[in-house]
Amino acid sequence: MGFLAAGIGAGIITLGAGIGIGLIGKGAVESIARQPEASGDIRGAMILTAAFIEGVALFAAVVTAILALGITV
């Protein structure tokens, strides 16, 4: 049961984080195309925001790892 939950959870996490980071990438690439001289700032902001989304996704990944390993807290 824990394995099932972990598998489904990991899939949903990947979906969410993928959509989020994809939207950031879309926004960043569009902004760079519109204003190439600001590419440095935009890249920094992009990595920072992506890192925050990744952080949330990793929290969920830890929960799935706990489920899969059967650790009872």
């Binding site: 440095g40 920094g44 902001a45 990595i47 920072l48 890192a51 990744e54 952080g55 949330v56 990793l58 929290f59 990944a61 830890v62």
Partner: protein, 352 residues
């Protein structure tokens, strides 16, 4: 000249493609019940360093009920009769479990290697600057140029950008050393027999804890005010907001540790699994298919190695960047006269 180099490179690549299959055949002939490839065994911490196929056993330091035990290796601990092994875990002969295991492990050794290499590199560069190279003239040599590029990058693009202008100089030392140490630790995983120490949660948690303490000790009055008495909101909302803010103090470094750990670990697992496909194919379909398919897996691994080298530097950069952002957010001082405007300024700062 280039043709000779290219020829040697292709020969080495072909040799590399066939070498694992030879080992795979040896392994396959040994035991049937054993799993074909032990993925976790390649990833977890060991009590030995592996160099060119030989194992160097590292000392064990154990604390059991207030008594310290020192042994030169795990076998020495077992031979002394004071310890016994149960399911890979050492326990004292009378059954008491180890209360604190301070043993030197392979991951710890690689942390030291990373730190020592970072120290050597920076001290070497500092001596050159003292002699005037780079100060009065341009930096000479490839290494010196790499050092200057990295240092200027950390100073201008990370520290100056995210930490208030009057305070950032204090934190450059920490940010640059953590950047260098993490880069070296990550890149050690690319060497043959090398281990990336950052694929261990204890290592990344220690690094994140240092960032956490620096952040809290450099926190300005405004930082603490925002945590306990968020300005400009209704007092009842503060009942919800204050616990969330206090929780936020701890989740930031936690995410920092998990991020680095998960990224390095996933890279490691991916490479072990893809190379392991050679072993699995040899086990199922016989050596011919194993040798044939190894060309695909080894070239895929080579491509993954390039990605891994990039991720190693990127994760070091992200760790440093987020450390700088957290320190900057804590060290920032706002204008007390315009509380609402300052809130908006904080919001835009985070969004930037």
């Amino acid at each position: 000249m280039t043709r000779i180099l290219r020829g040697t490179l292709i020969t080495i690549l072909l040799l590399l493609a066939f070498h694992p299959t030879a080992i795979a055949q040896d392994d396959a002939s040994q035991g049937e019940e054993e799993p074909v490839i032990d993925v976790m065994g390649k990833i977890v911490d060991h009590d030995y360093l592996e160099v060119a196929g030989a194992k160097i056993y590292l000392p064990r330091i154990l604390l059991v009920d207030g008594d310290w035990y020192f042994y030169s290796s795990t076998t020495a601990a077992l031979e002394s009769g004071e310890f016994q092994e149960q399911d890979g875990v050492l326990t004292r002969a009378d059954g008491a479990s180890v209360s604190l295991d301070m043993s030197i492990t392979s991951h710890l050794m690689y942390v030291w290697f990373g730190i020592i290499l970072a120290l050597f590199f920076t001290i070497w560069a500092a001596r050159r600057y003292k002699r005037g190279i780079g100060k009065t003239s341009e930096p000479k040599g490839v290494l010196h140029n790499i050092f200057e590029v990295l240092f200027v990058f950390v100073r201008d693009d990370i520290a100056k950008e995210y930490i208030p202008a009057d305070k950032y100089k204090k934190y450059i030392t920490y940010l640059f050393s953590v950047f260098m140490a993490i880069s070296f630790m990550n890149l050690f995983g690319l060497f043959p027999w090398g281990v990336s120490a950052t694929a261990d949660l204890t290592v990344t948690a220690t690094l994140a804890a240092i960032t956490f303490f620096i952040t809290q000790f450099s926190g300005s009055k405004d930082h603490w005010r925002h945590v306990f008495m968020f300005p400009g909101v209704h007092p009842l909302i503060r009942i919800i907001l204050t616990p969330v803010e206090i929780l936020g103090l701890f989740t930031k470094p936690f995410a920092l540790a998990i991020r680095l750990f998960a990224n390095m670990l996933s890279g490691k697992i991916l490479i072990v699994c893809i190379l392991g496909l050679i072993f699995i194919f040899t086990n199922i379909f016989g050596p011919a298919v194993g040798i044939g398919s190894s060309v695909i897996w080894v070239s895929l691994t080579a491509a993954l190695y390039i990605l891994k080298a990039f991720i190693a530097l990127l994760q070091a950069y992200i760790f440093t960047l987020l450390s700088a952002v957290f320190i900057g957010m804590a060290a920032e001082e706002h204008d007390h006269e315009h509380e609402h405007e300052s809130n908006v300024a904080v919001a835009t700062d985070i969004n930037q």
